[in-house]
C-alpha cells in the first residue's frame, strides 16, 4: 500500500473543508460540492442504503372545523432501489389500498376495481398534508443546493438553518428551509413555492436510533395555506405521522411487486 497516493485526495478534502469552514464563518455562498457534503450527511442518517426498512405508520389528519381522520398502514422500504410498498390497514373504507414505488414509477392499487393507477409522486398521500415523496429516502443532496445559512435555537436544539433551492425538477417544492441539530438530524423544514410563499412546515420532534441510522418516529406536518378560523384564531390543517415497530429486517423481493399488493389486498 502506497500512502502517497492518498495525499492528493487528503489535500483536496482539507481544502474543501477549510473553504467550507470559511464559508460558514463569513457567510459566503455555498458551492454545489459544499452543499452536497452537508446535505448528504443529513441524508445518510435517515436513508437506509443496503438494508430494508419496515414499520407501522399511523397518519392522523386534523382538519379544523371538519374533523379528524386516521389512516394506519404498513410500510416496506428498500432505499437501494428507491422502492416502497405501502398497504393501507385502516380506515375500513380504504383497507386493501396499496402504493407501490419502483424508482420513478408510482402506482396506487384500488382493491374494488382491482386496478393499478399511475399517480404522481408529488400528489398528496391519502389526501393528507403528506406527499407521496415524503415516504421515500431523503435525497436533499441530490435535489437541492444551499443558498443561505444562519444559526438559531429551535426549542431545546441548537440548529443550523439552511436555505435550499432545488437543482432538479423532481421535487414538489422548489425552495426549502431546514433546521439541522448538532447530530445532523433535520428537526424542522419549511417548504416554499417558487415565488417564495410558505406552503408547509414539517417538524420532526422524535427520532429513534436503530443500528447506525435514525428513524423519525413522530412527524408533524402543518399546511400553511389550509385551515379554518375557529373562535377568532386561525387553526392550520395538520397531519401527524407516528411510526411504530420500525425494523431493518430483510424483506423478500416479492413484497415490492404488484402481485404482492394484489394478494394481500384480497
Amino acid at each position: 500500500m502506497n500512502p502517497n497516493k492518498y495525499i492528493p485526495t487528503l489535500v483536496a478534502f482539507t481544502l474543501l473543508m477549510t473553504h467550507f469552514s470559511m464559508s460558514l464563518a463569513f457567510g459566503d455562498e455555498f458551492s454545489l460540492e459544499e452543499s452536497r457534503l452537508i446535505l448528504s450527511q443529513v441524508d445518510n442518517l435517515v436513508s437506509y442504503e443496503g438494508k430494508d426498512f419496515s414499520g407501522e405508520y399511523t397518519i392522523t389528519d386534523i382538519r379544523p372545523g371538519e374533523g379528524t381522520s386516521r389512516t394506519k398502514m404498513t410500510m416496506f422500504r428498500r432505499d437501494s432501489v428507491v422502492s416502497y410498498t405501502i398497504i393501507i390497514m385502516e380506515p375500513q373504507s380504504d383497507k386493501g389500498k396499496g402504493y407501490l414505488r419502483q424508482g420513478d414509477k408510482l402506482w396506487l392499487y384500488d382493491p374494488i376495481p382491482r386496478r393499478f393507477t399511475v399517480i404522481s409522486a408529488r400528489d398528496r398521500f391519502q389526501n393528507s398534508n403528506a406527499r407521496n415523496t415524503d415516504f421515500t429516502k431523503s435525497t436533499l443532496a441530490e435535489d437541492y443546493r444551499i443558498v443561505g445559512h444562519s444559526t438559531g435555537q429551535l426549542g431545546a436544539y441548537k440548529t443550523d438553518i439552511y436555505d435550499l433551492e432545488a437543482i432538479t425538477d423532481d421535487v414538489s417544492f422548489p425552495k426549502m428551509k431546514i433546521w439541522i441539530d448538532q447530530d445532523k438530524l433535520v428537526r424542522k423544514f419549511e417548504d416554499y413555492s417558487l415565488s417564495g410563499r410558505h406552503m408547509r412546515t414539517t417538524a420532526i420532534p422524535k427520532y429513534t436510533r436503530l443500528q447506525e441510522s435514525y428513524v423519525p418516529v413522530q412527524i408533524v406536518i402543518q399546511d400553511e395555506v389550509r385551515g379554518r378560523e375557529l373562535n377568532g384564531k386561525f387553526e392550520h390543517q395538520r397531519t401527524v405521522i407516528s411510526v411504530e415497530k420500525a425494523s431493518f429486517m430483510d424483506i423478500p423481493d416479492m413484497v415490492f411487486t404488484q402481485a404482492y399488493i394484489e394478494r394481500v389486498s384480497r
Binding site: D169, F173, L194, R197, R226, E229
Partner: protein, 435 residues
C-alpha cells in the same frame, strides 16, 4: 288591383265581428310563435356568447406539433390574418390572445384557509377581450383595467366555496411547466355567475399566468375571433381565416368536430401547423340538444298552424255561405271569377297580417315583461342559456318575416278552398242561395 284591395279591406272591416274569434286565435298563435322563436334564438345566442368566452372566441386558432398542446409561435402572422377578415366583409367584434393552463390536480385557489381545485385557468389580455368579458353575469366587480396583472376573475361557485369577495387577496397555486409549485397573490376584481358546463374557469392576466408557469411572458397558446354574427358567419369565417393564414403559415384542415380536434392535437408533424376550430364543433352535444328543442318547437308550431288552417277554413266557408248574395250581386254586376277569389284571399291576408301585427306586439310585450321582471335562480338551465339570470330573447328581421309568412300563409291557405268555392258560384245560384 287597388280597387280590389280597397274592396277587400272594406269587406274585412265590415265583417270584423265575424272574424273576431279567428283574429284572436291568430294573435295568440303569432304570440306563441314569436315567444318560442325569440327564446330559442336568444338562448342559442347566450350559449354561443358563453361558449365563445370559455373557448377564446367563436373561431379559435390552434397550433400543434403533435404533443397535444397548442402554442402559437407566430402570433403576429395570425393577427395579420385576423385583420384581413374585416376587408373581406366579416364583422369582427374583437379578438383574443390567450395563455391556457389545464390540470386536473394541480390548480388550487386559497383564501383564509379555504381552498378549491380548478381544472382550467386562462390568461387573457383584459383590454383585448373587454367587450366580451364585460358581458359576464357579474355578481360583484367588473372587468379589470387593461394592465392589471394582479387581477383575477372567479366564478360565483368558487367564491362561495372560498368565502371570498371582490377586493380580497386570493392565492393561486399551480404546478409550473418545469414541475415546480408556484404561487401568486392576486386580487379578486370580479365574481361572475357561470354554468358548471364550462367548468368554473378562472381568468387572470396572460403575463401573470405565463410567469406562474415559468414560461416566456409573451407566450400565446391560442388566439380567437369573436364575431358580431356568430351563428350565421362561423363557417365562412373559419374558411376565410384558414385561407388567410395559409398565406403566411403551414395550415391544416378546419376542425369540425371534437374528434377531429383531438386527432389534430396529437398528430405528429415536422413543424408546428395552424388550424381553426369553431364553437359549434366544440359544442356538438349542446347543438344536438338545441336541435332537438328546435325540432320539438317546430312540430308544436306546425300543429298550431294546422289548427289555424282548419279554423280559417271553417270560418271562411261560413262567411262565403253568409255572403253568397253579395257574391251573386257582384258577379251579376260583372265581377270576374278570379277577382272574387282574390277578394276573399286578400281579406284572408288582411286577417292574417292583423293577427301577425297584434300577436307580435303581444309576444314581444310578454317577453320584455318576463325579461325585465323575472330573475331566474341559478340552475343548470339558467346559467347555461340565460343572460344575467334573465330570459334572453332575440327576434331578427328574418324571424319577423318567417312568422308573418307562416301565419299569413296559414290564413290564406285556410281560406283558399272557400274562396275557390265563392269564385265558382254562378250569379243566379248565389242570389238564390242568399234568399
Amino acid at each position: 288591383m287597388t280597387a280590389l284591395i280597397s274592396t277587400a279591406l272594406r269587406n274585412f272591416f265590415r265583417n270584423i265581428k265575424r272574424y273576431r274569434v279567428l283574429l284572436m286565435a291568430l294573435v295568440l298563435i303569432t304570440a306563441v310563435l314569436t315567444i318560442v322563436l325569440a327564446v330559442v334564438l336568444g338562448m342559442r345566442t347566450a350559449l354561443y356568447e358563453k361558449a365563445s368566452r370559455y373557448f377564446a372566441g367563436n373561431i379559435v386558432v390552434m397550433a400543434y406539433n403533435g404533443n397535444g398542446a397548442s402554442r402559437i409561435e407566430k402570433p403576429e402572422e395570425v393577427l395579420q390574418s385576423i385583420r384581413q377578415l374585416d376587408p373581406l366583409g366579416v364583422a369582427v367584434r374583437c379578438f383574443s390572445r390567450r395563455s391556457t393552463y389545464y390540470d386536473l390536480n394541480n390548480i388550487e385557489l386559497f383564501f383564509s384557509g379555504y381552498y378549491v381545485k380548478q381544472r382550467r385557468i386562462v390568461g387573457v389580455e383584459w383590454d383585448l377581450e373587454s367587450p366580451v368579458l364585460s358581458k359576464f353575469d357579474f355578481i360583484e366587480g367588473s372587468v379589470p383595467d387593461a394592465g392589471d396583472e394582479e387581477a383575477v376573475l372567479i366564478s360565483s361557485a368558487t367564491a362561495n366555496q372560498l368565502h371570498i369577495a371582490v377586493g380580497d387577496k386570493l392565492l393561486v397555486s399551480i404546478l409550473s411547466d418545469l414541475g415546480h409549485i408556484n404561487t401568486a397573490d392576486l386580487i379578486v376584481r370580479g365574481i361572475f355567475s357561470e354554468s358548471s358546463f364550462f367548468g368554473y374557469q378562472t381568468y387572470i392576466h396572460r403575463y401573470t399566468l405565463n410567469r406562474l408557469r415559468e414560461a416566456p411572458v409573451e407566450r400565446v397558446n391560442e388566439m380567437g375571433v369573436y364575431l358580431v354574427n356568430p351563428i350565421s358567419d362561423e363557417e365562412r369565417v373559419a374558411e376565410l381565416l384558414t385561407r388567410e393564414m395559409g398565406k403566411f403559415l403551414p395550415v391544416f384542415v378546419i376542425m369540425k368536430s371534437r374528434e377531429q380536434y383531438t386527432a389534430q392535437a396529437s398528430k405528429l408533424r415536422d413543424e408546428r401547423e395552424y388550424g381553426v376550430v369553431s364553437i359549434s364543433a366544440q359544442l356538438k352535444e349542446i347543438e344536438d340538444l338545441m336541435g332537438a328543442i328546435t325540432l320539438i318547437a317546430s312540430v308544436v308550431i306546425l300543429m298550431f298552424l294546422g289548427i289555424v288552417v282548419v279554423g280559417v277554413s271553417n270560418t271562411f266557408t261560413m262567411i262565403v255561405w253568409e255572403r253568397s248574395r253579395e257574391v251573386g250581386t257582384l258577379r251579376a254586376l260583372g265581377m270576374q271569377r278570379p277577382r272574387v277569389i282574390f277578394s276573399f284571399l286578400i281579406e284572408a291576408l288582411f286577417l292574417g297580417m292583423s293577427g301577425v301585427s297584434l300577436g307580435m306586439l303581444l309576444g314581444i310585450g310578454v317577453l320584455e315583461i318576463v325579461r325585465s321582471a323575472v330573475s331566474f335562480p341559478p340552475n343548470v338551465v339558467s346559467t347555461l342559456f340565460f343572460t344575467q339570470a334573465r330570459l334572453p330573447w332575440v327576434l331578427p328581421v328574418w324571424g319577423v318575416f318567417l312568422i308573418s309568412g307562416l301565419v299569413a300563409g296559414a290564413s290564406i291557405l285556410g281560406s283558399l278552398q272557400a274562396s275557390l268555392r265563392a269564385g265558382r258560384l254562378s250569379p243566379a245560384e248565389a242570389l238564390r242561395r242568399g234568399k
